[in-house]
C-alpha cells in the first residue's frame, strides 16, 4: 500500500507542473516532489520496511534503498542546476514546465526500477525510463537533439526487446509464471544451461543501453550530448545505476545457477574490457566535454563490469565504485554545465583559460578529474585497488596488464583535456557570460562527499554493501 501511495503521489506531483502557470509554482512542486522522495526513504528506514515485499512486485531491499538515496541526492542538485540552466537558455514557460515534468517522471520510473522485485517488471520500468528520457533529450528541439532522441528510442527499444526475449527464455525455469527474483533463484539451477546462457547474453546486451557499457553504450553518449547538462548528470548517474542494478539482480540470480554463473562472469569480464577499450579510444577522439564525460562513464562502468566478473572482494568494490561514481560524475556534469553557460560551447579545442575566468569552477573540474582518474584520496582509488588485488588473487595477470594499459590511455586523455580547459588560451574570440560561482560551489559539494568517502567509509555504508554483495 505504501508503495502505491508513493507512486501515485510522485506521479501526481510530476504532472502537476502542466497544470500551473508560473515557473515559481513549478519550483515549489519540484521541491515537494523532492520531499516525497526523502520521506519515502525515511519511512522505509524508520519503520524498518527493508526487505518487505510491497504490492507483490516491489521490495525495498538494501540495494534499492541505497540507490534511491543516491538518486534523491542527485535529483536535488539537478533540480537546482536545471533552474539556473534553463533560465539562461531563455525558453518558454511551457517548455520549462515540460522539462520538470519529464525529469520527475523519469525519477519515478527509475525508483520503480530500483524497487522492482520481478524480472518482467524491472523490464517494464526500464522501458518506461526510455520514454521519459526521450522527452528530456528532445527538450531543446534542435536538429541534433532530434537525431539523438530518435537513436535513443530506437536503439533502446530494440535493445530492450532483446532483453525481453532473454526474460522469456529465463522464464522457462519459472513455476506458474512466478518471475520474482527469489522464486527464480530457487529454481534456476534446474534450467536448460544453453537457454540460461542465451538469456543472460540477451539481457545484458539489452540493458547495456541503460548501464552505458558495450555494446549499446552509444545511445547513452548521444543522449548526454543532446540533453542539458543537469539532465545529463541525472541520466549518467541515476539511470546508469538503474541499468547496473537490473544487471546486478540478474547476476545475483545466476549465482545460484552453478556452471552457467562462471560463463556469465566471463562474459561480464569481456564486456567490461571492451567498454574500457571503447572509453579509452573515444576519450582520445572526442571534441566535446559532455561526450567526454559520457565516455568516462562507459570506462567506469566497464571497470564495474570487470569487478562483477571477477567476483570476491571485487564485487564489493564494484558496488562501492558505482556509489562513488554517482557523486563524482554528477558533480562533473554540473561543473561542465557552468562551463557551457560561460563559453556557450562544449568544444574542447576552442575553449580554455577557465582558471582565470572561474577559479572555483576550474578547481572543481581539476579536482573532480583527479578523483575520476582514481588518484588518492579518491574513493575510486579504493575500489580500483580492491578490484586489482582480486585480479591478482585469482591470477589473471593478462587482465591486469590489459586494464593498466587501457587506464594509462584514459588518464593521459582525460588529464590533458582538463588541463587544456584550465590553462590553455581560447582559440578564437568568445563572448563570455557572467560567472555564477554559487553553482560551482554547490556542484563541488558532491565532490567533497566523494573525497570524504575515499578517506573514510561510514560503517553504515560498509554494512549496506556487505548485505548487497552477500551472494550465493
Amino acid at each position: 500500500m505504501e508503495m502505491l501511495i508513493y507512486i501515485i503521489l510522485s506521479v501526481l506531483l510530476a504532472i502537476a507542473p502542466l497544470a500551473v502557470r508560473s515557473e515559481r509554482a513549478t519550483h515549489l512542486i519540484a521541491g515537494a516532489f523532492f520531499l516525497v522522495q526523502v520521506a519515502a526513504i525515511a519511512l522505509v528506514i524508520a519503520f524498518d520496511r527493508i526487505d518487505c515485499v510491497m504490492l507483490s512486485i516491489f521490495r525495498a531491499d538494501t540495494l534499492a534503498v541505497l540507490f534511491h538515496i543516491l538518486m534523491t541526492l542527485v535529483l536535488g542538485f539537478t533540480l537546482i542546476h536545471s533552474s539556473s540552466y534553463l533560465k539562461a537558455e531563455d525558453i518558454s514557460t511551457r517548455s520549462y514546465k515540460a522539462y520538470y515534468t519529464l525529469l520527475m517522471l523519469l525519477a519515478v520510473a527509475i525508483s520503480c526500477v530500483y524497487y522492482s522485485d520481478n524480472v518482467a517488471m524491472t523490464w517494464v520500468f526500464l522501458e518506461a525510463t526510455t520514454i521519459c528520457s526521450a522527452g528530456i533529450i528532445y527538450h531543446r528541439e534542435f536538429r541534433q537533439s532530434l537525431e539523438a532522441t530518435w537513436k535513443y528510442i530506437f536503439v533502446c527499444s530494440t535493445g530492450i526487446a532483446m532483453a525481453y526475449l532473454g526474460i522469456l527464455l529465463l522464464s522457462t525455469v519459472a513455476h506458474h509464471g512466478a518471475l520474482d527474483y527469489a522464486a527464480l533463484k530457487e529454481v534456476i539451477a534446474e534450467g536448460n544451461p544453453l537457454y540460461l546462457k542465451v538469456a543472460f547474453l540477451l539481457i545484458v546486451v539489452g540493458y547495456s543501453c541503460k548501464m552505458e557499457i558495450f555494446p549499446l553504450y552509444t545511445v547513452g553518449v548521444d543522449a548526454n550530448y543532446a540533453a542539458i547538462a543537469p539532465a545529463s548528470a541525472f541520466i549518467s548517474t541515476a539511470l546508469v545505476n538503474a541499468g547496473f542494478l537490473s544487471i546486478y539482480r540478474i547476476y545475483d540470480l545466476y549465482a545460484a545457477s552453478g556452471e552457467v554463473f562462471e560463463w556469465a562472469r566471463h562474459l561480464l569480464i569481456l564486456i567490461g574490457i571492451l567498454s574500457l577499450a571503447v572509453g579509452a579510444m573515444f576519450l582520445r577522439r572526442t571534441n566535446n566535454y559532455k561526450r567526454f564525460l559520457s565516455y568516462s562513464t562507459v570506462e567506469n562502468m566497464g571497470i564495474v563490469a570487470i569487478g562483477l566478473g571477477i567476483g570476491g572482494i571485487a564485487l564489493w568494490a564494484a558496488v562501492f565504485h558505482v556509489v562513488c561514481h554517482t557523486l563524482v560524475k554528477s558533480s562533473m556534469f554540473y561543473q561542465v554545465g557552468i562551463v557551457r553557460h560561460i563559453y556557450d560551447s562544449y568544444s574542447i579545442n576552442r575553449i580554455g583559460n577557465y582558471m582565470n575566468i572561474n577559479k572555483v569552477g576550474a578547481i572543481g573540474i581539476i579536482v573532480g578529474t583527479l578523483v575520476l582518474l582514481a588518484f588518492p584520496p579518491s574513493p575510486l582509488f579504493v575500489s580500483e585497488v580492491m578490484i586489482f588485488s582480486e585480479i591478482v588473487t585469482v591470477g589473471s595477470w593478462w587482465l591486469l596488464a590489459l586494464m593498466l594499459v587501457l587506464m594509462c590511455v584514459v588518464i593521459y586523455s582525460i588529464w590533458s583535456r582538463t588541463l587544456r580547459l584550465g590553462y590553455h588560451s581560447n582559440q578564437d574570440e568568445l563572448h563570455l557570460s557572467a560567472v555564477n560561482r554559487r553553482l560551482s560551489y554547490s556542484a563541488a559539494i558532491l565532490l567533497i562527499v566523494a573525497i570524504v568517502l575515499g578517506i573514510w567509509q561510514p560503517q553504515v555504508l560498509k554494512e549496506a554493501i556487505d548485505i548487497i554483495v552477500n551472494i550465493g
Binding site: 532530434l146 528510442i153 530506437f154 522464464s171 509464471g177
Partner: protein
C-alpha cells in the same frame, strides 16, 4: 490449422524482405497481426478466458489494426513511399533465406522438450528478419518496420515457450510497446519535417 498459419507467417517474412513499398510493409504487418490472432484462436484451449481476451486485444486490435493504422498515417503525412532505390532486392532475399536456414539450424540444436520447435524456429526467423531490415535498409521507416517485426517475433517466441505471465505484467508490457511505437511514429514525422529526409545518412550530425 496452426501449421498453415505458421507457414503463411513465414511467407510474409520472406515477402517483407523484397517488398519495396512502405504501404506493402504496413499491410504485411497487419496480415502478421491477423495470423498471430489466428494462431492464438487455434490455441484457445491452452489459455484462461481472461488471458485469451487479452491476447485478442494484443493481436487483433493492436497488431492487426492500430499499429498498421499508425504506420499508414505516418506514410500519408510524410509522403514516404519506397525503400531506397539502390537497395538490392536480390541481396535482401538472399540474406532472408540465409536467416531462415540459420534459424532452422539453431532451432534444431536449441529447442528442448518444453518448447515448440516450429514456433521457436519461426520466431527466431522473425527476429533475424527484423534485424536484417534494420541493418540493410537505409530509410528510417524500414527500421521502424524492422522493430515491429522483432516485436511480433518476440510474441511468437512467448508462445513457443508457453510462458504464462501475470495479467498486470502482460498489460504493462503491451502498453510500453504501444507507447514506444507511438513515440517512434511521432518522431519519424518530426524528422521528416525538420530534416526533410528520412534516410539514415542524414542522421550523422552527432559524432566524435
Amino acid at each position: 490449422m496452426i501449421l498453415s498459419l505458421i507457414i503463411l507467417y513465414t511467407l510474409t517474412l520472406i515477402y517483407l524482405s523484397i517488398a519495396d513499398r512502405f504501404r506493402n510493409h504496413a499491410s504485411i504487418l497487419a496480415i502478421q497481426g491477423l495470423l498471430l490472432f489466428g494462431i492464438a484462436i487455434a490455441r484457445m484451449h491452452e489459455f484462461h478466458p481472461v488471458e485469451m481476451s487479452f491476447i485478442i486485444v494484443e493481436t487483433f486490435v493492436f497488431k492487426a489494426i492500430v499499429i498498421p493504422a499508425i504506420l499508414l498515417h505516418v506514410i500519408h503525412k510524410t509522403k514516404i513511399n519506397r525503400i531506397h532505390s539502390s537497395s538490392s532486392q536480390f541481396g535482401a532475399l538472399t540474406m532472408s533465406i540465409v536467416a531462415l536456414v540459420a534459424s532452422c539450424t539453431i532451432t534444431y540444436y536449441m529447442a528442448d522438450s518444453r518448447t515448440d520447435m516450429i514456433f521457436f524456429g519461426v520466431a527466431l526467423y522473425a527476429l533475424l528478419s527484423g534485424l536484417i531490415l534494420i541493418v540493410m535498409r537505409k530509410r528510417i521507416f524500414a527500421h521502424l518496420v524492422g522493430f515491429l517485426v522483432i516485436e511480433n517475433g518476440v510474441f511468437l517466441f512467448s508462445m513457443a515457450i508457453g510462458v504464462e505471465l501475470p495479467m498486470l505484467i502482460n498489460l504493462a508490457i503491451m502498453l510500453d510497446i504501444l507507447i514506444s511505437i507511438l513515440i517512434l511514429g511521432m518522431f519519424l514525422r518530426r524528422l521528416d519535417n525538420d530534416i526533410h529526409t528520412d534516410e539514415t545518412d542524414a542522421l550523422t550530425s552527432i559524432k566524435d
